[in-house]
Amino acid sequence: MELAQKYLRSAVRDPGARLRSLGFSLGIPALALALFLALWAALAPRIQTSLGAVPGPAQVAGQAHALWDAHFAERRKRADFYARQEQRNKERLAQDPAYRPRHFSYNGAPTYLDQILTSLTTAFTGFLIATLVAVPLGILAGSSRVVQAAINPIVEIFRPVSPLAWLPIVTLIVSAVYVTTGTPLFQKSFLISAITVTLCSLWTTLINTAIGVTSVDKDLVNVGKVLQLPLSTRVRKIVLPSALPYIFTGMRLSLGVGWMVLIAAEMLAQNPGLGKFVWDEFQNGSSDSLARILVAVLTIGLIGFGLDRLMQLVQSFVVRR
């Protein structure tokens, strides 16, 4: 958005300068990308693995197309299933008017796009829980030196823990505590992955929120004390506006970490998202597997980039108000 505005402004003033800046910000990345693709296409076929040569950009593009087509083929199968079900219900009702028609939902395997959606949902759930826990705790820690001293060692110890270490514990606790009968609202694997994301990403938000709160201008804090403002007003009017940029930085970093952690968590918890897709392709060991895994890698990277940009957009919108 800012880029477009910048170009428009400079275009009006000086077309030559506009072309130069355009060349710089778009041309150089494009050139670098082309070079990277050429290098990849040249070097990849030279590495032979037991699953065939490492795929080049052409194969990866081919598999991306295949996954896209498979998604639509599956949607057609789903439509056929519902058509058959309707037909069967009609026939049964004709024979036996007292029959209760069955409306089963289609049981096909999740398509690639379904898996992307599952990953995003899981990541956001984990991120949301992390934010709801970390922001209030961070504000508390920033406001009170006692609380900060109290939680500091705990935060420092748990921050470097990898999701793979949390996963078995989370799995056991969720299996024991979350007892389900019939079709539950949330799948266990979904909860396990989301909680693992929470555990790994909440530390960054917590630390950044605390820092944001402690760096509120001392004069403003004194104003609050002098006016004897109630706590909620103090937080809303004084602390939050100053701390918001730090909080958002923390949230952005958290989301990035959370997205990375999610893929590992999904692989182990078997949540039907991108992590499981990568793991299943690896286990299947077909000659298309490597190319499909690379499609997933690129998808994960692009989504991560998109999420980061989204957070920046939200931040610029909220903080400017």
Binding site: S50, R102, N107, A109, Q270, D280, N284, G285, S286, S289
Partner: protein
């Protein structure tokens, strides 16, 4: 009027009429009563990514489950232990199981639970593969004809290599998929027939490597080629596509298939918990009906097999390349790269009464469990019969078969209606011994390697 006062022809008429009424009384529930609908319609079945999950996949993809009014979800499981545990704790209604799993669970080897089966999914379907290094050493001892090895290859050739390794102090390790897997018993049978001791299980040591010449360990099927390539194991016994995968990727050679070790060996079963079977009898029959139709379809023609290969190649089913899967499912088998032989019985889904749950099949697996010490104490023949009758439910199978015949989807000759559950004296074993399902203890005493009937583990 007493029976004896009737004339001979009248007596014959009465006897015939009684017999007719008797058998039709048995058939009556299926024919005269309105079609019994399933108690539970939404079902979740587990499977492992092996080509012999085909009956489940075909029953789903060809809408045979839907025809029975069932809404089935098929879910691939990570390994055999997870699969069994999830059936036992109710997360899965039923699953593609190793023939030894319902038996092992019932007798308490591993997780103790009442697991039953009414359907045998297929015969054969496994092979034993070794790494290139081992195969190159073995070739010197394998009889050749025209430059190609003569099949079946016996473990005597492997014994020479293992003895050499023992002399160098190197352990020889092989993988199989689960302690009560058919692969474990077939591998042990083959090794013992060649003079190698595959190890014993004892009450204190359930790793199964007591006194072993070859150490066997558990590896999940998809990881077997990679584990062999890494050198952790020197060979393995597993189902397809993991043998053809190793051969086609050039990391190993298949030595022998299990149909050469025991012709028409029962392989996978469709297992459910006893509780589930008792609470959902109509559902169980409906599931077996769909599976019978699927197996019949699979053996109906090569074109069907080719279609099945394409379905199994999808990444949510087996996921391996169609070429690898088709290598063993369409009438051939490639022992080493370039040496493809015709082997139409590598997978048998319906021919030779493959789907009927014979008691003698259960007894054979129990004898092998006893042979290697998984059953630690001596048991009388009656114990084997009782256990087989507890775990295998041919009555459910027959009900399903009769329902299909009534619907015109099968004929009487497709099924072994008159059997008592025992196949009689069976041959076709690689060591030339014969198996009589009614005399398990006598059978055990015939082996030179293995616990005898009266031995303690």
């Amino acid at each position: 009027m007493s029976y004896r006062s009737l004339s001979l022809s009248r007596r014959r008429l009465v006897a015939g009429a009684t017999a007719l009424v008797g058998t039709s009384a048995l058939a009556l529930p299926a024919l005269a009563a309105p079609r019994a609908f399933p108690e539970k319609e939404s079902l979740k079945f587990g499977f492992i990514k092996l080509t012999d999950c085909a009956p489940l996949v075909i029953a789903f993809e060809k809408h045979f489950f839907e025809d029975e009014g069932l809404n089935v979800t098929l879910e691939a499981q990570a390994n055999w232990k997870v699969l069994l545990d999830r059936v036992i704790d109710g997360q899965l209604d039923g699953a593609h199981m190793l023939a030894g799993q319902p038996l092992g669970a019932t007798i308490g080897f591993g997780t103790r639970a009442d697991v039953v089966t009414a359907f045998n999914m297929d015969l054969n379907g496994n092979a034993i593969t070794v790494s290139n290094a081992v195969w190159n050493e073995m070739k010197a001892f394998v009889p050749m004809q025209g430059g190609k090895p003569v099949h079946p290859i016996k473990a005597d050739a492997l014994k020479k290599v293992v003895d050499k390794w023992k002399g160098q102090g190197k352990p020889f390790k092989m993988g199989m998929v689960f302690p009560v897997s058919t692969h474990n018993y077939v591998l042990r049978y083959w090794l013992a027939a060649g003079g190698l001791n595959p190890g014993y299980y004892t009450a204190g040591d359930i790793s199964g490597t007591q006194k072993a010449d070859v150490q066997l360990s558990v590896t999940p099927p998809p990881q077997m080629p990679a584990t062999m390539e890494a050198g952790t194991i020197n060979g393995y016994c597993v189902g397809e596509p993991w043998n053809q995968q190793a051969v086609l990727k050039g990391i190993g050679a298949a030595l022998v298939t299990d149909l050469e070790i025991w012709k028409d060996k029962p392989e996978k079963v469709f297992g459910v918990t006893r509780g589930w079977a008792e609470q959902n009898p109509n559902t169980h029959v409906a599931v077996v009906k769909a599976l019978i139709r699927a197996c019949k379809w699979l053996d109906a023609s090569m074109a069907n097999r080719a279609e099945a290969v394409q379905l199994l190649a999808r990444s949510n089913y087996v996921g391996a390349d169609a070429q690898v899967i088709g290598n063993s499912m369409t009438g051939t088998f490639e022992y080493e790269k370039g040496d493809k032989r015709p082997l139409p019985d590598f997978n048998v889904f319906f021919r030779n009464h493959a789907t009927y749950p014979f008691y003698s099949d259960a007894v054979w697996y129990l004898t092998q469990m006893r042979r290697w010490g998984q059953i630690p104490e001596t048991r009388p023949d009656s114990w084997y019969m009782e256990t087989a009758r507890k775990v295998y439910l041919p009555q459910v199978y027959i009900q399903a078969a009769r329902a299909l015949i009534a619907e015109g989807k099968a004929v009487e000759s497709d099924f072994p209606m008159k059997t008592d559950g025992f196949k009689g004296l069976q041959g076709g074993f690689i060591d030339g011994l014969a198996f009589d399902g009614r005399k398990p203890n006598d059978y055990l005493n015939q082996f030179s390697i293995g616990l005898k009937a009266k031995d303690a583990a």
